[in-house]
């Protein structure tokens, strides 16, 4: 399948990129989600704006406390980052489930987040971590939390004239544990269900389910129960309770239980 024709722009800076955005214009980050859609002709932009040349969007730093990930950071780079492994291990656990290693060479953190597939690992892990998403336009920057950013399956609050520039993840307390679990038909396939959990020593928790709804959401009732001393099994059942389908509820609860137990270990 060959894409429908389009024009191509490769801006060298964020400012240049912003000037190119608009309707009928699609942003190309890693291409691992977009190019399949182009090849199937399910996406037919007039112009593709390739962010691959914008070095200023490719970084991982934590100089002043929170983790700051430039949107064009490749998933493989996140996976290899010693900083992330030590201090935000949930991200490393989650990213290892993203497709296959060849996909992660090109796929980006920002691209996965902006694509907002309900079965995607990074959005749910970032949601559990309380991440914030920096959207830049020529008018300035606005910063949204996960619940404001993810608004539907494959839908985010990003306007067509905005770029997701950075993902900011709060500092994690010393001794916090994390866990990630998912099920897929085969290894590397799209997840059918999953869970991300991060638990601080005082049992403050961030728990989010993957594939349980149109957007990744914090399981607030479950988090409160965990903080209140409930057992992982009970917490997990709470996290999954809104799922109507009995099997899905059981599946999500089981995966949540595993993620929570891993975080507590």
């Amino acid at each position: 399948m060959k894409p429908a024709p389009f024009e191509y722009r490769a801006p060298a800076s964020v400012e240049e990129a912003l000037a190119l955005l608009g309707p009928e214009r699609t942003v190309l980050a890693g291409g691992q989600s977009l190019v399949p859609l182009l090849n199937l002709r399910l996406a037919r932009p007039e112009v593709v704006v390739d962010l691959g040349g914008i070095a200023q969007l490719d970084y991982i730093r934590a100089d002043a406390g929170p983790l700051r990930i430039g949107a064009m950071t490749r998933q493989a780079v996140l996976e290899r980052s010693e900083l992330v492994r030590r201090r935000w291990p949930l991200l490393r656990k989650a990213v290892r489930f993203v497709g296959h290693f060849q996909i992660r060479s090109r796929g980006t953190v920002g691209g996965s987040v902006a694509h907002a597939d309900p079965a995607a690992e990074l959005p749910v892990a970032l949601t559990a971590l309380g991440a914030r998403f920096h959207l830049r336009s020529s008018a300035g920057v606005r910063v949204l939390g996960a619940s404001e950013f993810f608004i539907g399956p494959l839908q985010t609050a990003r306007e067509p004239d905005e770029l997701l520039a950075e993902i900011e993840v709060p500092e994690q307390p010393e001794g916090a544990g994390s866990g990630f679990a998912e099920h897929a038909h085969t290894h590397g396939d799209f997840a059918t269900a999953g869970a991300a959990a991060v638990v601080a020593p005082g049992r403050d928790a961030g728990i989010a389910l993957l594939g349980a709804g149109p957007v990744p959401e914090r399981a607030a009732a479950a988090e409160r129960a965990l903080a209140g001393g409930a057992e992982p099994r009970e917490v997990a059942a709470l996290a999954a309770r809104d799922l109507e389908d009995e099997h899905r509820r059981a599946l999500c609860a089981e995966l949540a239980r595993r993620a929570i137990e891993e975080a507590l270990a």
């Binding site: 399948m1 060959k2 894409p3 429908a4 024709p5 399949p36 199937l40 002709r41 099920h183 038909h185 085969t186 290894h187 590397g188 396939d189 799209f190 059918t192 099997h247 059981a250 599946l251 089981e254 995966l255």
Partner: protein, 711 residues
């Protein structure tokens, strides 16, 4: 019954010779269809029906489309080429209406080709194909065999007083089983290139195919053209599994348009086309009944089989239904049988032969029912089998076929030993063990070979068989080298070019070694006799004989009845209670394919086939939605097993030589796909305490089944 082979193991035969084919593959020096880039070629893309069922009012091609050389609908073809022919089977009824090359006034499945665009590039052809306006009047689709009132195939055989036996039997066991449709998914999609030379009136077609013969015959028939005026060349082929046998309608279109335009025309199918338009496998369900007496002897089998054949009979669509029916006595000594199979039209892509081509269905239906019987009678499923196995060969079945040789009891014994049965149940998981046996038809018809002594004493063999991964270049060289007494490096094989190889039958139905290999051996034997005649008793090397009489050659045409491979598979599976997730812990694959010429390659066939059988059990299913749209147009909607899911597979070969060919060989290419599903299904049922579920055994199904089993 004895394991001596008529062809005794020697320098090469019976040895795990590594493949000569490998180096050029490993270096990336292969030439599959799309690697062939004729500089002046035009590229084809098809406009395909978006509807499962619709009338076509008209097809309009806009003018002035960029890069377009021609755009064709059925109206432009004016009745030529003809619809694809339909192959029937003996003793039953098969409708004669075939698949049109391009749809005329009706489409019967989503993805059916309606118009073709020839353009300077594939991308431009796809651009233009999107702009073709087709006036569709959608009709309600029929999406399962039950709801269909159009019968396209029918076969029914009754042997013995089946009704009487059932009426008086001590036990009657009934079960219904379904094997849903799966897609063949060779890693290389289909494709063809055609070039017409007007001065010689010669049409040359390169095609990714299982052999040149059926493509040649099919093109000659569809184009109404003498076979001598068509040359078919099969390049390297990236798998087929039954899906690249006779010519596809697209291939015929490519050939016809090359003749019409005078351009070289290339069609390289993409994955989306391959998923929706390549014929599918399985898609059968059966009501099976067994009549047993007091001591668990199976007295009779009755089966009503329904096949979901899709919108048209493609050339070989009817064949698997007949194959399933003929094998419904399985490996058991059953005196009476009543088997009927009906193939119905539905608004889906047609079905056709896919690895096993009717044998997996028969093995599945029989073996699952035998396990149901064992449970109902309160017997060990292995014991029930042992009481009923055929133990003397040749054996003529109640349905009329003769199994040439076999040692079914030994296969079963080995499978039990190798799989290490396990049964376990705790709060987290259940573990079950199951077995599935099979007998399958292989070989048959005829095959050809020519052997030629080249200058220097090297041997050139031209074979009617055609490899697409099986390693014929190595196995046939092993046979020829051994037979003539030369080094394997002194043997060259030719396959796949209709100008270069003798006319034969082709590669399908696990026939290449039994038929193609036997033809090679006979041709080499005949050549050897000629060499000996030239030497006239003198001690001459082949080099010298070739010098004395250049161009020595001999040919052979080997003909044989069907041979019957068999086997027993065992599987141990684990189901996780909390989620319903199935893991196959291990598989034992015991196959009897007669003489094994290359055990390394034979094992490769078994493991590859087993992976496909496991795929059918675990995750593969070609699902159409309520409107008849395929949900499997991409890998997002159809999954294949990866290396991460493959369990350990222990293989063993029982070698009951066939008396029907000089090698004593049968067929090993399809055993894995035939034997594995029944074993896994029976293992799952064992884990579920007897609850039976149809494949694919998804988490959801098994989770609910565990609840049912618990209640």
């Amino acid at each position: 019954m004895g394991t001596e082979a008529r062809l005794t193991a020697g320098r090469y035969v019976g040895r795990p010779v590594r493949r000569r084919e490998d180096e050029r593959i490993l270096r990336g020096a292969t030439r599959y269809l799309d690697d062939i880039d004729p500089p002046d070629a035009v590229h084809v893309a098809f406009a395909r029906s978006p509807f499962a069922h619709a009338r076509i009012g008209g097809v309009v091609v806009p003018d002035g489309l960029e890069g377009v050389v021609a755009a064709l609908s059925a109206a432009d073809l004016e009745g030529r080429p003809r619809d694809l022919p339909v192959q029937g089977f003996e003793g039953g009824r098969v409708a004669t209406e075939g698949h049109p090359v391009l749809a005329r006034n009706e489409v019967r499945y989503a993805g059916q080709p309606v118009a073709a665009v020839l353009a300077e590039s594939r991308a431009l052809a796809e651009d233009a194909a999107e702009l073709i306006e087709v006036d569709y009047e959608p009709l309600d689709p029929v999406l399962d065999a039950h709801s269909s009132d159009v019968t396209m195939t029918h076969w029914h055989r009754v042997s013995g007083d089946v009704d009487g036996v059932f009426a008086s039997a001590a036990h009657v066991v009934r079960a219904t089983h379904t094997l849903p449709r799966v897609a063949p998914v060779p890693m290389e999609p289909r494709g063809a290139i055609a070039s017409y030379e007007e001065t010689d009136d010669l049409l040359t077609v390169w095609v990714s195919a299982q052999d040149s013969h059926r493509q040649l015959a099919g093109l000659a028939a569809a184009l109404d053209r003498p076979e001598e005026k068509i040359r078919v060349i099969v390049p390297d082929v990236g798998g087929a599994f039954g899906s690249k046998g006779p010519p596809a309608p697209e291939t015929v279109l490519v050939a016809a348009s090359a003749m019409a335009t005078g351009r070289t025309v290339k069609w390289a199918e993409d994955r989306e086309e391959n998923m929706v338009a390549s014929y599918q496998g399985r898609g059968m369900e059966a009501d099976v009944e067994l009549a047993l007496d007091e001591d668990a002897t199976i007295l009779a089998v009755r089966a009503r089989i329904r096949a979901d054949l899709g919108g048209y009979l493609m050339p070989t669509t009817a064949i698997p239904t007949h194959t399933t029916a003929m094998l419904m006595c399985g490996v058991y000594d059953v005196q009476a049988a009543d088997v009927e199979v009906v193939g119905r039209r539905t608004n889906k892509v047609p079905t056709g032969p896919y690895r096993g081509a009717g044998r997996p269905e028969a093995a599945y239906f029989v073996e699952c029912t035998v396990d149901v019987a064992a449970r109902e009678l309160g017997m060990d499923p292995l014991e029930l089998r042992r009481r009923n196995l055929i133990r003397h060969h040749p054996y003529r079945t109640a349905l009329g076929w003769t199994y040439d040789s076999g040692d079914y009891a030994r296969c079963l014994e080995l499978a039990e030993e190798l799989v290490q049965p396990e049964h376990h149940s705790d709060a987290e998981r259940v573990v079950g063990t199951g077995f599935g046996m099979y007998v399958e038809r292989a070989g048959g018809l005829f095959e050809t070979a020519e052997a030629e002594l080249l200058t220097g004493g090297r041997l050139l063999v031209r074979s009617g068989s055609s490899p697409h991964g099986q390693g014929h270049d190595t196995t046939f060289a092993q046979l020829a080298a051994e037979r003539l007494g030369v080094g394997i490096e002194d043997v060259e094989l030719r396959f796949g070019d209709s100008d270069e190889v003798p006319r034969g039958v082709g590669t399908f139905a696990s026939r290449s070694l039994a038929m193609g290999g036997s033809a090679v051996v006979q041709a080499v034997d005949a050549l050897k006799q000629k060499c000996e005649a030239v030497a006239g008793g003198r001690d001459m090397s082949l080099h010298e004989i070739a010098g004395a009489e250049p161009g020595l050659r001999a040919s052979a045409r080997f003909e044989s009845d069907l041979v019957f491979s068999s086997g027993a598979y065992g599987a141990v599976v684990e189901i996780e209670r909390a989620t319903g997730r199935l893991r196959v812990l291990r598989v034992a694959a015991v196959d009897d394919a007669g003489t094994i010429v290359n055990p390394l390659l034979a094992e490769g066939q078994v493991i590859g086939g087993t992976a496909q059988g496991l795929g059918q059990c675990l995750i593969e299913q070609a699902v159409y939605d309520e409107e008849g749209n395929p949900t499997f147009a991409s890998f997002a909607g159809y999954s294949l097993l990866t290396a991460a899911e493959m369990p350990p597979v222990t293989t063993a070969f029982v070698q009951s030589p066939s008396p029907l060919n000089p090698l004593g060989a049968k067929g090993i290419g399809e055993g894995g796909a035939i034997g594995a599903p029944g074993a896994v299904a029976n293992a799952v049922a064992d884990a579920l305490g007897g609850v039976r579920v149809d494949p694919p055994f998804t988490e959801e199904k098994l989770w609910w089944a565990l609840r049912e089993a618990g209640s």
